[in-house]
Symmetry: C2
Subunit: 292 residues, 2 copies
């Protein structure tokens, strides 16, 4: 069984402990629906790859850390899709949670996943209390206020927004959690991995902005042009497709350059390159940006 299969198996167990009796049946169904769609598991992959590259990996902690990151990501998607935010009825090619189960249940699914992420870490703490505590602290910093993904999402409600700050908090913070969390799971200093997570996240969000402009509904699983219609802060709106594409290339290179000294830097670099290649391909950014 490869790492991702182990991850999925463990995630099923973690989620099953949330949805078992006496959980209200509709909420339980909606939680399962929100987590087991067709997600790419980018953040758990990154966490596991960093942990492996550091050696001294503690497998159970890694799997629970990766589960926590993915549950937080799922929570953010469910709440971001709500009518008060993106009003997105489609996610990953299927009805979004609120479209399928109603707004009230969708709010509670997000809440339950937020708490569920911390629960996954408390479950892992029995074996490695110190590392689990560091993961918990990092998870609060990268998801909550003042600078995590929840705070990032709130920039959409403000009049004056610096788009790169918005992206850093809304998107890059959870990639930082994944990269730094992987280091914590292997007992390495997480600070050395912050830039790696940051630039991967910034590249990811820049690709997302470009996709919204250039199209590619299939890969995105949501209609393109949506962010533009909602007047979301966007690097494309700020600097145009050509400059945004250049910025994307800068973030790609900075991500690759950010792989720090570790046990297996070549393997990690290869993983990062493959991950970044996905962002390019799915957005068809290279070819489009050449035209502009």
């Amino acid at each position: 069984m490869d790492d991702l299969a182990h991850f999925e198996k463990n995630l099923r167990k973690v989620v099953a402990r949330l949805t078992e009796a006496p959980c209200p049946p509709k909420l339980a169904e909606a939680i399962e629906y929100s987590v087991f769609g067709s997600g790419n598991r980018l953040r758990p992959r990154l966490l596991l790859a960093v942990a492996k590259s550091c050696g001294k990996m503690e497998k159970e902690l890694c799997l629970h850390g990766a589960a926590a990151v993915e549950l937080m990501h799922s929570a953010s998607l469910v709440h971001d899709d709500l009518p008060a935010f993106d009003n997105a009825d489609v996610r990953r090619g299927a009805p979004s949670v609120h479209a399928a189960y109603g707004v009230a249940t969708a709010v509670l699914v997000g809440d339950a996943l937020l708490v569920g992420a911390f629960r996954a870490l408390t479950e892992a703490a029995t074996k490695c209390p110190e590392r689990a505590h560091k993961l918990m602290k990092l998870l609060t910093e990268t998801t909550g206020c003042p600078a995590g993904i929840i705070a990032g999402q709130a920039w959409e409600q403000e009049d004056n927004v610096e788009v790169l700050d918005y992206h850093r908090m809304k998107t890059a913070a959870l990639f930082e959690m994944a990269a730094m969390g992987g280091a914590i799971c292997s007992n390495q200093d997480p600070e050395g991995f912050r830039s790696l997570g940051h630039y991967i996240g910034m590249a990811y969000q820049t690709a997302d902005d470009l996709r919204d402009e250039l199209g590619d509904t299939n890969d995105l699983g949501k209609p393109s042009g949506k962010d533009k219609a909602l007047n979301r802060p966007s690097v494309v709106a700020k600097m145009g497709v050509k400059e945004a594409s250049s910025l994307f290339e800068v973030f790609l290179q900075k991500a690759i350059d950010s792989v720090p000294v570790c046990n297996k830097p070549e393997e990690l670099t290869l993983f990062v390159k493959e991950l970044l290649e996905r962002f390019k391909l799915s957005g068809n950014i290279q070819s489009n940006s050449n035209k502009n």
Copy 2:
């Protein structure tokens, strides 16, 4: 400075760490607004009273534990008031968070407070890692799925609901957190305090149902008759005012009888009696129930 003043001072600090720069200003303002209304701080009071009655109290942990419970409670109020749930424009005599700041910001305030509660506990963990970990585990159990307050709230979306299960999860769970959390802060076995929290919570919710039926808008800070109009599961709807009032009395007595062996049982019993007396007075339940 008494315990509650210490609690408020510490809560200000905990919240200030959430709302400091670079937190988006509107979100920061709404977070402050949601926490520093005219709340009665019942759950923090209970946590502190139990901790004191057990001796060996670790003050910083207590204050952070009490802050975590209150932040969770505030989060649940903000989300419960949303249009998709109670659609309450008034809370504690003032505009609810979504009425004042919009639905999107209210959703994010709740999310930020959920994460902020865990952050408060991670901050306390430096000094008492084992106790903080127990508090975190208990917080996930009493707030998340399958049986915490979020799961409890989700029963409102189901067709077949056992009202006492709904109350146990939606309301009593967080009182259990407070009572058991107080014991954890003082290094005592929390299980001995579960019933105390449970029955206080059940009495509280029964009083709330009676108030909704019998009136008392001022004390409740929200219009009475609202739960009835929304067809919420209610002990009054299930068994009528007379039997619900009797049940309230049963819960009161069971709560008093649940004070376990501890260092200062007389003081704790006195606190519990005073707390329960508030439920009676605010609902004017005694006099009304005598009429029915």
